[in-house]
Amino acid sequence: MHRLVFALVCVAASLALASCGESGPRTTNGRTEIVFWHSMGGVNGDALQRMANGFNASQDAYHVRPVFQGGFPDSLKKLVSSFGTDSMPALIQLDDIQLRFMVDSQATVPLQDFIDLEDATSAAMQGYPPAVDLADFEPRALAYYSLEGRLRAMPFNLSGPVLYYDKDAFREAGLDPERPPTTFDEVRDYSERLLRRDQGGGVTRNGVALNISAWYFEQMLAKQGALYANNGNGREGLATEVRFDGAEGEEILTWWQEMVDSGLATNVGQQGLQALLSVLSGKSAMAIESTAAMRSVLLALGPGAARFGAGPLPAPYSPDGGIVIGGAAAWIISDRPDIEQRGGWEFLKYATRPDIQAQWHVDTGYFPVRVSAWDMEPAASLHRDVPQFTAARAQLLGSPLNLVTAGAVIGPFTQVRESVIEALEQVLVGDKEPREALDDAAADANRAIERYNRSVTE
């Protein structure tokens, strides 16, 4: 928490200094250089570099230079400590939950400003093509990154949670391999039939592998149609309290606890991907994991991947809600000279072109930002190789557009997530009952929110 207050003090202090830090735009070989801080390591980083190369070859005014800055928390820390200096980037990629913080930091230019400017230009000049066809953008991503009706950042990489399952295990248990469970009760029934024990009574295969993650908790709440924070998830006004401690939240924690206690589910801890690995290795029949792992894992398995299905994330009782789109967005930094900001905007327009997005989807496994990219090559081929994407897509498209699926906007989201994880852990080790753990988590979260709100409104 202190870090945050400190960060905001830094922001305020450095904004005052900002004017003296100005040192003209960066240039390279006669072009304006656009420095883009990102957190895409490995294969995804290569894909991003190819995207930048493509942009650099497509025009001769700007040169985008992607710079890897470690994970999102590292990158954000570096950004905050660079406020007011000339080492700020023109673009930065940050994870979804930084939305409120980035808006409050006033360090960025709302993306909407660029869209409005181009719309005005095309309206004034007959025949000038519209800048961006927002109608073709994934509406849930636009909803997520919009605040007060204005798009704040460009959705850059998108993902969602799914239920992976072992079709062979389903067949063996007499379950329809094309019909994964959609509610908590169904997951429990299926798990009872999928559970296998040896003679000694030890579990050789459990029903479902569950990863302790605040993100899945958020997604399950959304799937049930429940708000995570007050004031319309913090979208109709500054969120002042969390709402995850309602009946739906209790339902989720209770189910989670009962599943693990009864041995129907296995708790794989906080490490991501362990749940999916548990299914791949045959120790569990189902697992809840992100789609972000889908491409790399299933392609690595080759033909063996066919026995793994993907279905929608199960909801507590009514599968009518939807998921909140996860991932990260690219922000344009206000401290940089106008020409760099414009270059950043041009790059983001290029990056979200449908053909570029189809390639990005294939390279990284992230959902395309453009709706039309799904059916374009090479995305269409990927879906033949990894048909599991079809289910992930269906869940995304089936998610209603409302305040719940737009996702919560909370300043100190990282701390709020920490308190949710604590609650999950306490419930799973039996330290607290779901109701008590939720109440404590909500109290912690509300305190963090109150402190944050005080520090930004004063």
């Binding site: 490995g42 294969v43 995804n44 470690g70 590292d74 792992a293």
Partner: protein, 283 residues
């Protein structure tokens, strides 16, 4: 010494040492197992890594993982940067710590003890608390993407000063008196008497400094943007994606980054053990 003992005595000694060695072997195995699996997994194909039960032996070693780790990121350049940075930091820490420790151990000046404790108290300030101000200083000096930015904040060490001072205090005072009579000044005494007698302690400090500098992550990440100036730990982080990707290649990179450390520790091992225990009794 051994010759004086009878054969029966030796057998007895060996027998009594057996359980101890068995325990040591077991602990060594426990500690080495993750390292072993790192090497094994760095030689597997990705789909092998995803299967259960895991293989404990690379049946078809994939050396291409190492090639990927070397070429997907500018690994040689990163290794060189890490070497330069770690060497400069080690040299700086050993020399400044030796000079400061000498002053605290052999020289008499007002407020020596309080000053020493103030010196030590800087060890209580967590690095995380000073990293942002340090970063801003480096930025203001325009030292981003430079070797001085990577090394200067680490050239002095309170821990090293403490370690060396404790060792210097174990040296007989008479040496100093003798040196005084011979007309040795402080610097001469330090260079020709104290340092030769403190090789073990100095080597210990050097290895620790080098290890620490080599393993730095956050600081080099903060003060560099150019790939040419980055160090090996950032390189490994860059091999890794947010989600699962080529774990085998990441592990290959880890093994590559580990090798210089391993060589260093093996070479200096003799000194290390002596250095750690030297001065532990008196002090």
């Amino acid at each position: 010494m051994r010759q004086g003992r009878t054969g029966a005595n030796t057998t007895k000694r060996v027998a009594s040492a057996l359980p101890r060695y068995a325990l040591l072997l077991l602990s060594a195995a426990v500690i080495l197992f993750p390292l072993y699996m790192t090497v094994v997994d760095s030689l597997q194909t990705l789909d092998k890594l995803l299967t259960y039960p895991p293989d404990f032996w690379p049946n078809s070693p994939q050396w291409s993982n190492y090639r990927s780790a070397m070429t997907d990121i500018p690994m040689p350049r990163y290794m060189m940067n890490s070497l330069i940075v770690a060497a400069v930091i080690t040299l700086g820490q050993v020399s400044t710590a030796a000079l400061a420790a000498y002053a605290f151990a052999f020289m008499r000046f007002p407020l020596r003890t309080p000053l020493f404790f103030i010196f030590l108290s800087t060890m209580m300030v967590p690095w995380e608390a000073s990293i942002i101000p340090n970063f801003q200083t480096i930025q203001r000096l325009d030292w981003i993407d430079t070797y001085q930015g990577l090394t200067v904040p680490f050239l002095a060490t309170a821990f090293g000063t403490f370690l060396l001072r404790q060792h210097f205090l174990t040296l007989p005072r008479e040496l100093k008196d003798a040196a005084d009579i011979d007309g040795y000044g402080n610097l001469k005494f330090l260079l020709f008497v104290v340092i030769p007698l403190s090789r073990a302690a100095l080597a210990t400090l050097a290895v620790f400094s080098f290890l620490q500098a080599w393993n730095q992550y956050l600081w080099p990440l903060l003060v560099t943007n150019e790939p040419d100036m980055r160090t090996v730990q950032i390189g490994i982080a860059a091999l890794q994606a947010e989600e699962v990707q080529r774990t085998n290649v990441v592990l290959a990179g880890t093994v590559i980054a580990l090798l210089p450390m391993l060589v260093l520790v093996i070479v200096f091992q003799r000194f290390l053990v002596r250095g750690l225990t030297a001065g532990a009794v008196k002090g």
